[in-house]
C-alpha cells in the first residue's frame, strides 16, 4: 500500500493525502500548471516537500538509498540530456541489478540503442531509455511525468500495456488514452485534486468540463460554449 499524508509543495501543491493500491495504474490529468508535476515531485521527494510518504510501511524520506531505489522511481517530463552517457550506463545508474538492467533494455526493445550515447539519439529513443531507467529497479511505485510524450503511436500503446499491473502514477494529457488505460483517474486543478475515481465515473462527471473547459460532442472534444468561461484564470 502506498500512503501519502499531507504532502505539499509551497506555492504549487495544496496539502493533500492520497492512498494508491498496489498494482493499480493511476492516471493524472489536468490543465497546464494544474499541479500534476508538483504532485509527482512531492511524492518523489523533489524540492523539499512537506508531509510523509509511506510505501509498504516504509517511510521513503528515511529509507537508505539502496532501499529507496526499490520503493519509487521518477521519470521527469524533460528529455534533456544532462550528461552524454551511453543509454545502458544511464539505466544502470538507477540502482538496478545487472540482470534488471538487461531486462529493462529488452522490455523497451532498446537493443543497440542502449550502447549509443544518449545525445546522439532522437527524442523518442531517448524517452525509451529514460523510461527503461525508471522501470529497471522494479520499484513499488512508478511516478511518470508524461511518459507517452514523444513516443510513436505503437510505442505509446506498448508502454501503456507495459504499465498494467504495476503501481504507477502517470501524468498525461490525452484524456481518452488516460480513461481507456487507467484503473483510476485523478483530475488536478490549481494545485488541488478536482476529481478522483474510476475513469468512467470521472469522465462522465462534471469535473472534466469544469476544469478543462471542453466537452465531448459527436465523438470529438471541443471547447465548452458555456457563459462566463470554464475555469478561473490564474
Amino acid at each position: 500500500m502506498i500512503r501519502a499524508t499531507d504532502i505539499a509543495l509551497a506555492g504549487r501543491l495544496q496539502p493533500l493525502s492520497l492512498a494508491l493500491e498496489p498494482g493499480a495504474l493511476v492516471c493524472l490529468v489536468g490543465p497546464n500548471g494544474s499541479g500534476k508535476t508538483s504532485l509527482l515531485h512531492a511524492l518523489a521527494g523533489i524540492g523539499a516537500p512537506a508531509g510523509r510518504v509511506e510505501i509498504d510501511g516504509v517511510e521513503v524520506k528515511s529509507a537508505p538509498r539502496a532501499q529507496r531505489a526499490r520503493l519509487l522511481s521518477f521519470l521527469p517530463a524533460s528529455r534533456d540530456i544532462h550528461w552524454p552517457l551511453a543509454g545502458r550506463d544511464a539505466i544502470a545508474l538507477s540502482g538496478a541489478s545487472a540482470a534488471q538492467v538487461e531486462a529493462a533494455i529488452d522490455l523497451l526493445d532498446l537493443g543497440t540503442l542502449a550502447t549509443r550515447r544518449m545525445d546522439r539519439l532522437s527524442t523518442g529513443e531517448r524517452s525509451r531509455i529514460l523510461i527503461a531507467r525508471a522501470l529497471a529497479p522494479e520499484p513499488a511505485l512508478l511516478l511518470l511525468d508524461e511518459p507517452t510524450a514523444n513516443l510513436d503511436p505503437l510505442w505509446q500503446l506498448r508502454l501503456l500495456d507495459l504499465l498494467h499491473g504495476r503501481s504507477a502514477l502517470v501524468a498525461m494529457h490525452d484524456l481518452d488514452d488516460a480513461a481507456a488505460h487507467a484503473d483510476r483517474l485523478i483530475v488536478m486543478n490549481e494545485g488541488r485534486v478536482a476529481a478522483d475515481g474510476p475513469p468512467e465515473e470521472v469522465m462522465a462527471g462534471p469535473a472534466i468540463g469544469a476544469v478543462f473547459g471542453i466537452e465531448r460532442a459527436s465523438g470529438r472534444w471541443r471547447p465548452l460554449r458555456t457563459q462566463g468561461g470554464p475555469r478561473s484564470s490564474r
Binding site: R65, L85, L143
Partner: protein, 322 residues
C-alpha cells in the same frame, strides 16, 4: 576503472615520482661519494617538497575539475576556466601585499576565500546548470576581473618589488618550496580530495538531472555547497603556495572519463591520479628543458593545455554543426 588501467596508472605515477626525486641524478651521485647524509637531506629538504606539490596540486586540480564538470554538467568547466584559480590568486595577493600577512596560513586562508568568492560569483552569474557559452563567458569575466584586481593590488602594494616578487609565483611554480609549505598546501588539499571522492555517487546520479537525482534521495543543494567549498579549499591551498597552474583541471578529467565509461562522478579518482601524473611529468619536462633557467610550470601546462582546449571547442562546434 579496470584493474589494468589502475595498475598502469599507479606504475606511471610511481615512475614519475621516482624520477622527480632522482633527476638530476649526477648531483646525487656526486654527493653520495662525499656524504650519504647529504643525499638524504637533498632528497627530503629540497626535492621531496617539489615532488609532493606536483602530485598533490595535480590531483587537486583534476579532482576539482572533474567535480565542477559534473556539477555544472559541462565537460569544459574547470578551476582555471571558471575563474577559481584567478580568484584564489587574487585572495593570496591581497593577503600578502595589501594586508601584509605572508605566513603560509594567512596566504592559504586568503586564497581559499578568493576561490570561494569566485565560485559563488560564477554560480550567481551563470546559474547551476549553465550552457557552455554562458559558463565560459562568466568564467572569462571572473578571470579578467580577478586578474585586473591582482595587478591593481600589486600596483598599490607598499613594496616596490611586489611585481617582481609575485611574477614567478603568479605563473605557477613548484621550485624552492619547503616541506612546511608543501604540508600547508598538501594537507588541506588531500582532505578536500578525499571528501570530493565521497561525492562520486551523487555526482554520477546528477548526470540523470537534478530532479532524478533528488528523487533518488540525494540533496542537490547540499551537494552543490560541498563541491564549491571543497574545490575552494583544495585549489585555494595549492594556489597559495604554488600560484596558478592552468589546464590540468580541464584535461585530466577528460582522459579519466575515457577509463570510466564517461561517468562524471566515477571519473574523480582516476582524474586525481592522472592529474598528479600530468603535473609531475610537466615538472620533469620543465627541468629537462634546455633553457638555461627554469620555466614556470604554469607556462608549460598552458602551452600544452590551450591547444587541447581549442581542439575541444572546435570539436564541439563541428559536432553541433553536423
Amino acid at each position: 576503472m579496470s584493474a589494468r588501467a589502475t595498475f598502469l596508472l599507479t606504475l606511471l605515477l610511481g615512475t614519475a615520482t621516482a624520477l622527480s626525486l632522482a633527476v638530476p641524478w649526477g648531483d646525487l651521485a656526486a654527493l653520495f661519494e662525499e656524504d650519504r647524509r647529504l643525499v638524504w637531506a637533498v632528497l627530503v629538504e629540497l626535492r621531496a617538497p617539489r615532488t609532493l606539490l606536483a602530485l598533490i596540486y595535480g590531483a587537486t586540480l583534476a579532482a576539482s575539475g572533474a567535480a565542477v564538470q559534473a556539477l555544472f554538467a559541462n565537460p569544459l568547466a574547470s578551476p582555471d576556466l571558471t575563474g577559481t584559480t584567478s580568484g584564489a590568486a587574487l585572495g593570496a595577493v591581497v593577503t600578502a601585499y595589501l594586508i601584509g600577512l605572508s605566513s603560509p596560513l594567512a596566504l592559504s586562508l586568503g586564497a581559499v576565500a578568493g576561490a570561494l568568492g569566485a565560485l559563488l560569483l560564477l554560480l550567481a552569474l551563470a546559474g547551476p546548470r549553465a550552457e557552455t557559452a554562458t559558463l565560459l563567458l562568466a568564467g572569462l569575466a571572473i578571470s579578467a576581473l580577478a586578474g585586473a584586481l591582482t595587478t591593481l593590488a600589486l600596483a598599490l602594494a607598499p613594496s616596490p618589488f611586489a611585481f617582481y616578487d609575485a611574477y614567478d609565483w603568479l605563473m605557477g611554480s613548484l621550485v624552492d618550496r619547503s616541506l612546511a609549505q608543501a604540508a600547508f598546501a598538501g594537507i588541506p588539499a588531500a582532505i578536500a580530495i578525499l571528501l570530493l571522492l565521497r561525492l562520486s555517487r551523487p555526482l554520477d546520479a546528477l548526470a540523470l538531472g537534478e530532479e532524478v537525482a533528488e528523487s533518488m534521495g540525494y540533496r542537490i543543494a547540499h551537494l552543490r555547497r560541498w563541491v564549491v567549498c571543497l574545490t575552494a579549499v583544495g585549489v585555494g591551498a595549492c594556489v597559495a603556495i604554488c600560484g596558478a597552474i592552468g589546464f590540468v583541471g580541464l584535461v585530466a578529467p577528460i582522459f579519466a572519463r575515457g577509463l570510466t565509461g564517461g561517468h562524471p562522478g566515477r571519473a574523480l579518482w582516476p582524474a586525481a591520479l592522472i592529474g598528479a601524473l600530468l603535473l609531475a611529468a610537466a615538472d620533469l619536462a620543465v627541468r629537462a628543458a634546455p633553457l638555461g633557467r627554469t620555466l614556470p610550470i604554469g607556462v608549460l601546462t598552458a602551452l600544452l593545455g590551450a591547444p587541447f582546449f581549442l581542439w575541444l571547442v572546435a570539436n564541439m562546434r563541428w559536432r553541433m554543426s553536423r
